[in-house]
Symmetry: C2
Subunit: 273 residues, 2 copies
């Protein structure tokens, strides 16, 4: 089922080929509720082994238009993980110090160590998205950066880091409904950002920039996933399946401990048995 | 004069082709003392412009066998720089946290920002030198890392960082004399490290590893310099010339300030003149 949403080679594609309403034929939330909880438990188990073994690390990065649910999916899918070994990082407007460094600097600083999982809410991909859409960089610079991103990701994965790249795919109508909800609901008003309305005008330009970036950086080892996100329950379910499956395929196990060492230390050596 | 010591393409070379005793025909320290001071002043001027303009940054990394004078050259050539905009970083045995990350992580964290100069005493190159010599990694892994280093350096220089790579070239005899000096001189004894004597046995393996690394990462943009270092005064002089010349070629200038803004703010606008 996951292959349908996975892009693992540098081929042209169109986001229009993916339906934001898609639920993979599943009728509703009720049908996957039990599986969802079981998958979360499995994920926790994987994390414990990851933390104990320290042979691998995991980077899950979330990109998507405003209101696509990046905060929501991190909360729903990853909130139960052991915080000692899991960290969510949010990429806002760069500080002066961050801007003074190369565009990958601040992301590399918070890249996951072996034994840990990091979730990036937005990421270094913004450096070829928002910057490109607003013409802060030209196409040539964007291509150069995408190459650097490819090398950077290959270097991370050579160092034992699994990279999972998620694009949360919503429709413009869905976004508008969300913005309206935020404006009208006092409890959601704090999330409303007037610039979201402005950025909406650049929908097509963002779509193009995303298609370009995703095409340029999809590889077998570090694929992108296009996650239909108009239905929150399906979005969460699919992301959980993607993450659980990626960790499962690492075939993690607890490190073996040579008990003879401990026996020795405790004065219980083999001959005294 | 500098070309003779510069490697700016991926071609085979032998360290044996460079004479550690070489002084470029200069008879002695007296002949360059005045020029040395003048060059230091120029370097300080470059740094001030670099710091003010914040369009470029500089990374100077020093590699070389034990006792080749990495500490010494940093002190002699760079100590006069404005500390606000200059930092020396020393790469010792990686900590547990550093080892848990990819091999470029700790270096990237302390990479220079635009406006600043960083001197690396040893560097990420150790990850293909000491590790390779002691068989902690195989040749395939070393080649992979060298590729990642090339990409990393290209990314840094695309981001406005000039990278100057210095190999301090000494002879085995010179090293032995230095080790003996350290052992016999109470004021230098603190620098004596018994492992230096042990590492001496690997001289040939280090030479091979250096030649391989330097060959693989010499480019027009990010060249290596082989600096003859048996004569300290020539070593310092040559490094200073290399660094000064690299900054000079950036053609730095103080940023222009639009004075009309200040006149306006002070109530002195053009019409009131």
């Amino acid at each position: 089922m996951l292959e349908k949403y996975r892009l693992n080679e540098k081929r042209s594609f169109s986001l229009a080929d993916f339906d934001p309403e898609d639920t993979a034929g599943i009728a509703g939330k009720e049908d996957i509720e039990a599986e969802f909880e079981a998958l979360k438990d499995k994920l926790k188990e994987h994390q414990e082994k990851l933390f104990a073994g320290k042979t691998n690390g995991v980077l899950i990065l979330f990109q998507g238009m405003d209101c696509s649910g990046k905060d929501g999916v991190i909360k729903k899918v990853l909130a139960g993980l052991n915080p000692q070994g899991f960290r969510a990082e949010s990429f806002k407007k760069p500080t002066a110090d961050e801007s003074a460094h190369d565009f990958l600097w601040r992301a590399h600083r918070v890249a996951p160590a072996k034994g840990s999982i990091a979730a990036f809410n937005r990421s270094y991909y913004e450096e070829v998205l928002i910057t490109r859409v607003h013409d802060l960089i030209d196409g040539k610079e964007a291509s150069k950066r995408l190459k650097h991103i490819g090398h950077f990701e290959k270097m991370l994965s050579d160092g034992g880091i699994t990279i999972i790249k998620i694009f949360l795919h919503i429709s413009p109508d869905f976004q508008l409904r969300k913005i309206q909800e935020r404006m009208e609901n006092p409890e959601k008003l704090w999330k409303f950002d007037p610039s979201d309305l402005e950025e909406r005008q650049y929908w097509k330009a963002y779509t193009k920039a995303y298609e370009h970036a995703i095409k340029a950086t999809s590889t077998k080892r570090n694929p992108w996933y296009i996650v239909p996100a108009n239905n929150r329950w399906f979005r969460d379910y699919l992301v959980l399946r993607i993450v659980e499956s990626a960790l499962d395929s690492l075939d993690l196990s607890y490190p073996e401990v040579d008990m003879s060492q401990f026996r020795l230390a405790a004065g219980i050596n083999e001959s005294s048995k």
